[in-house]
Symmetry: C2
Subunit: 690 residues, 2 copies
């Protein structure tokens, strides 16, 4: 595999190596030696002087005569990088890590250099990591092909493991890696992607996921373009958690100025990652907390992890855990224990404990291994329990061993995942963290962190990655220069419910058209570029044939055509629309009409969507409740709205890049009476947004 040398090279060349202590060109050589890398280490420098006691070579080509070189770190000035890449290509190196800065991150001149680098490398068939990156690590091989100061730390040790860690940011990424190692979270592969001129974080993650022994991936990204690659990783059975920075407007601006990449709106990122089955996290600690629970994924794959039993020796921890479970109510709930379980617990737990969920077994039960075992087995054996959170506070010496043994036994016996909350200082039981880790018991300092990780486990157990059928091919040909009448005619032709109506040719024709529409009609001015035509007086409701000529004249005077439509009775007003994004075309459904901006409640999905998606979109918004019928109103025609949304999704899939479709209001009538698309607009990217 082309990218394997990033963490498992037979030989590494360091181009721009130096022997000066502290020089960045010395660090990778030093680190490869220090961490026991067994492959060839080839410092490359023009003068051939030794580096860290190793012979150096004037070129990579020269070095490659000594043995295979399949990774080169390039650490020379930016303007010399392309030449170095040519040297690497000549030596048959398939992938290079360009550590040098001075590229797109510095402005226009650098961006030109970066373009040249990518072009040359592409022509030569060399893949490029970076530029402006700190390098990579394979912990199994001791391959620290990086110059991060982390590896200078006197007490730094690699902690190998099954997780990969891929970060767009170098400093933050290696900082996070140091925190992972510190908590004993083992990483097998660490990659910093820098400017991502060629290799993206997503592509690297996919490559790491393909490595033997990879059990999960943690990532940090500022821009995100290839969610599909991540979706394939998840679908292949490797869980992925991603810290996507730039959630806020200010953060997105900072990210854009940092990476130069155009960001998708954050809500789009959210839905795209959810669709891909990727767990999205909000900070570095949460990323590592999710990493700690990834080891449990194989034991729960395909299973529901929703109903949580809480076992505690502290009433307070139990309450906080219950609070946290409700906070994560989209994925978790407090399990309702069966009557049999409660009865069994009554016999174990003393009166000052609690046998409801959270179960306060009390310190006296916990300190009696036989009783604690029985209590745990009873709870985890309840068929209504999918997972257990066990909470402790000041846990000291011997207690830890007993507790861990009991928890590990119950986990083994029942297959129910157990996560532990230990709200107490490490020094009280210095071995506790390692013992629990070894027993497959993720442990967290606070209930909130444990439950958050469990919620991630719930998602990873059954990621929402079902195949959505491609929408049926429709021959829409919608264009932004169409007026409302043409748009609606096209939608009608595609089977979408628009009001009966047509453009009136003149004032007399308006009278005829009103009659055709049923005797009472709506007249609308169709003027290119006129937004919010209601506000502008461009819509007149309930016009009779008698009034038609006068109204026609008034609207015609606005400079466009006049559309005559049947009068649709009042219903619930929804909006259905579609916009484009760097991650794909987006469908939007929500509360429409005059309340659009005020209620501001819409759900988004990337296309394609299926019926279940649309039902979920309705339920995510207040539209769900409105459709069920507010005070004194019967239910609206939800099924018809769902059909219409699905049809719109099919049409949206045919829109040209950048086009924005806006159907608002879509009136939802009483059950059985269907829906009507009362207004329709199509804009190109330039016009969109007012």
């Amino acid at each position: 595999m082309t990218l394997r040398p990033l963490w498992d090279a037979r030989g590494v060349a360091v181009v721009g190596a130096s022997d000066r202590p502290g020089a960045v060109g010395r660090l990778p050589v030093q680190f490869l030696q220090r961490y026991g890398y067994a492959g060839g280490i080839y410092p490359v420098r023009p003068d051939g002087a030794p580096v860290c006691g190793l012979t150096s070579y004037p070129s990579v080509a020269e070095a490659s005569r000594q043995g295979p070189v399949d990774l080169a770190m390039i650490m020379v000035a930016a303007d010399k990088v392309t030449a170095a890449v040519r040297d690497c290509a000549a030596a048959g190196v398939p992938v290079v890590v360009v550590c040098s800065s001075g590229f797109a991150e510095t402005g226009e001149g650098g961006a030109l250099l970066q373009d040249e680098l990518v072009t040359v490398a592409g022509e030569l068939g060399v893949r490029v990591l970076g530029p402006n990156c700190i390098g990579t690590v394979g912990t199994a091989t001791g391959q620290v092909s990086s110059f991060s100061p982390l590896f200078s730390g006197e007490r730094t040790e690699l902690v190998p493991g099954g997780l990969g860690f891929v970060s767009q940011s170098g400093a933050l990424g290696y900082g996070a890696v140091s925190l992972a190692f510190e908590r004993g979270l083992g990483l097998g592969w660490v990659v910093n992607t820098g400017n991502e001129a060629d290799l993206s974080a997503a592509e690297v993650m996919a490559a790491v996921a393909g490595e033997e022994g990879c059990t999960g991936l943690l990532g940090y990204a500022e821009s995100l373009t290839d969610v599909h690659a991540l979706a394939r990783v998840v679908a292949s059975g490797v869980p992925v958690a991603l810290l996507k920075a730039g959630r806020s407007d200010a953060g997105a601006r900072a990210a854009a100025s940092h990476t130069g990449a155009l960001a998708a709106g954050d809500t789009v990122v959210d839905v795209a990652l959810r669709r891909a089955g990727v767990v999205r996290v909000d900070d570095v600690e949460e990323l590592l907390d999710v990493g700690d629970v990834m080891g449990l994924v194989p034991s729960v794959r395909g299973r529901r992890v929703r109903r949580v039993a809480v076992v505690t020796t502290s009433g307070g921890s139990g309450i906080l855990t219950a609070d946290a479970i409700e906070t994560h109510g989209d994925r978790l709930e407090l399990a309702a224990l069966s009557a049999a379980t409660t009865a069994a617990l009554e016999e174990i737990v003393p009166a000052y404990g609690a046998t409801g969920n959270p179960v306060d077994v009390t310190a006296s039960v916990m300190s009696n291994p036989a009783l604690f075992d029985r209590a745990l087995t009873t709870i985890a054996g309840d068929p209504g329990v999918d997972a257990v959170v066990a909470c402790f506070c000041v846990l000291t010496g011997k207690d830890v061993d007993d507790v861990v043994a009991a928890l590990a036994r119950v986990r083994e016996a029942t297959g129910v995942p157990v996560v532990v909350v230990r709200t107490g200082a490490d020094h009280l039981a210095p071995q506790a963290a390692a013992t629990m880790r070894a027993a497959g018991l993720p442990v967290y300092t606070t209930p909130e962190r444990a439950v958050r990780a469990l919620a991630a486990l719930s998602q990873m157990a059954r990621p929402d990655v079902r195949e959505r059928p491609a929408p049926p091919a429709v021959d829409a040909h919608l264009t932004a220069d169409m007026g409302e009448d043409e748009l609606k005619a096209t939608l009608a032709r595609l089977g979408l419910p628009v009001p009966v109506g047509r453009v009136a040719a003149d004032r007399d024709d308006a009278v005829t058209a009103v009659a055709e529409a049923g005797g009472r009609a709506v007249l609308k001015a169709v003027v290119p570029g006129l937004l919010h035509k209601s506000d502008a007086g461009g819509v007149v409701l309930d016009v009779t044939a008698e009034q038609a000529p006068e109204v026609f004249d008034r609207l015609a005077a606005m400079g466009g055509e006049v559309l005559v439509e049947e009068l649709v009775p009042g219903g619930l007003e929804a909006l259905v629309g579609s916009t484009d994004s760097p991650l794909g075309r987006v469908l939007t459904v929500g509360v429409g009409g005059v309340l659009t901006e005020v209620v501001a409640d819409v759900a988004l999905r990337l296309l394609p969507v299926d019926r279940q998606d649309v039902e979920e979109m309705l339920d995510e918004t207040r539209l769900g409740r409105l459709l069920a019928g507010v005070r004194g109103q019967g239910p609206a025609d939800r099924a018809a709205l769902v059909d219409t949304v699905l049809a719109v999704a099919g049409v949206a899939a045919t829109l040209p890049p950048g086009a924005e479709l806006d159907l608002n209001p879509v009136t939802v009538l009483a059950q059985g009476d269907g829906v009507r698309i009362l207004d329709a607009a199509l804009a190109t990217a330039d016009e969109a947004g007012d």
Copy 2:
């Protein structure tokens, strides 16, 4: 001060002491000795056998002949506690810590014992901490009058400091204390209040706040009754942060079953704490994180801490910090740096850095103390900057000293608070945490945690504790048996805007009443107990004099009276109401009418409120935007609504306990046209809620 012996006693008696290793009755004696308590230690046990080498006494009274005893820990069986309290009273002990369990936490029998304990102690003038508590600690005096296993830890050391820590929960509380000590957060006073039969957490916190050197308070509570005590603490200048558990329904139920206390709704707790100026936190780590920033409060008291500059050597950390600042947008914002600042930074920061905010000074600037100093001074000196967040990742050895020195200097020179993010393992710079703490630089692992703490500092700098005027006395006399007509008549008498109208005596009188109402009226059935009368057909709109008799007959047939009111034109529908809570009477304002349940958007405040409160309530909800005018509608009469809400608040203050006032809809007409209370209902606690 009566409660001082809880942490600074001249002598401590331990009633129920034991010499058996590991016995809870031995632990406090052992701990008082181990942690260097210099006062008298008096084991009390019937047989007079020595405990930990100390003479024991058959009673507290006997012990008190040896020297002053002003604290007794009572560790005997529940049914012997009252007798022990009598013994303490005889010895003149002002306050006792009842560690024994077997009281209200175990059920009815225990609750009776607890009542007896409180009664006897009250009669004897002895204050009681507990029962069912783990005790107290004064770190300055080494007074560990507690049996928490924390103090058995081989490596446990007390870390004295200016913060008090008061927890209702024992296990969780001492677990949190261990975490505070572990991070070097010094605590002067630690109290576990247990069942709070007598002393509440709030009362204890107030007492701790009165101690010399107390700079802040951290608390954990499951029930909360005396927010006023906390408000007084904050007003006296001592910041308070509280972890109030039971935020969720499930958590509140668990808390209620744990403490037996009736909980106020969580939103009410929120507004009550905000009004008191108390920082509310969601987990133990956040509580300690806020504790870490309390030391900065004196330096920013009364100042605005809102506009944050971010200084980083990692683009990623900068973006995440910007994200976090937006998340806490109610209190913080990213500072807009002045042109002069940016220009000055351009001269310092290399091209691959960033001079906007977040400012990426780059690692090269950071490693040059003179340049880093200049950059920091420039940023912190910008008049648009209230606070600085400085982010680092892998920070090693010597770098730490330089960075800390620079940060401390700029903080000293400008008075601007600085918080630090260090996303890297401790072992990379083992002295860093302590060095930064000593320099007054709170340090956090992630941007999110640092910004969250800074948001708390913003609140603590200027807590919202302004005095609200008591509402003018009104003579309302509203009672739950009043019909809508009587309620409205009373409201009208109090100057509130209700539609013109009256009850019609018969069908003929209805015709007259319609004429009085302006010729077109609304007729309403006034039937006791009829809720949602619109849904029940009890409201007929736009009735003419001609139609009045027939409509009157129809409504009269529903079994009550018929109210005839002027027809009020359509407006924006709000709701204004008031409910009772354990924390005081609550005012509610929000979106009303048919959208009440669907939009479900209301703001709450405890009474009294002033104009600023009401304005803020409107802006917190969608009502604010609706009042400003949605598409095509002009602005509504916001000022009239504010006046009405203030008047309703005055009326609400007169309502009997448990009464619930519901004015919905309150129609807000166009600017200048005022508001009208279209419907009014008053229920008692039993009836309230349908």
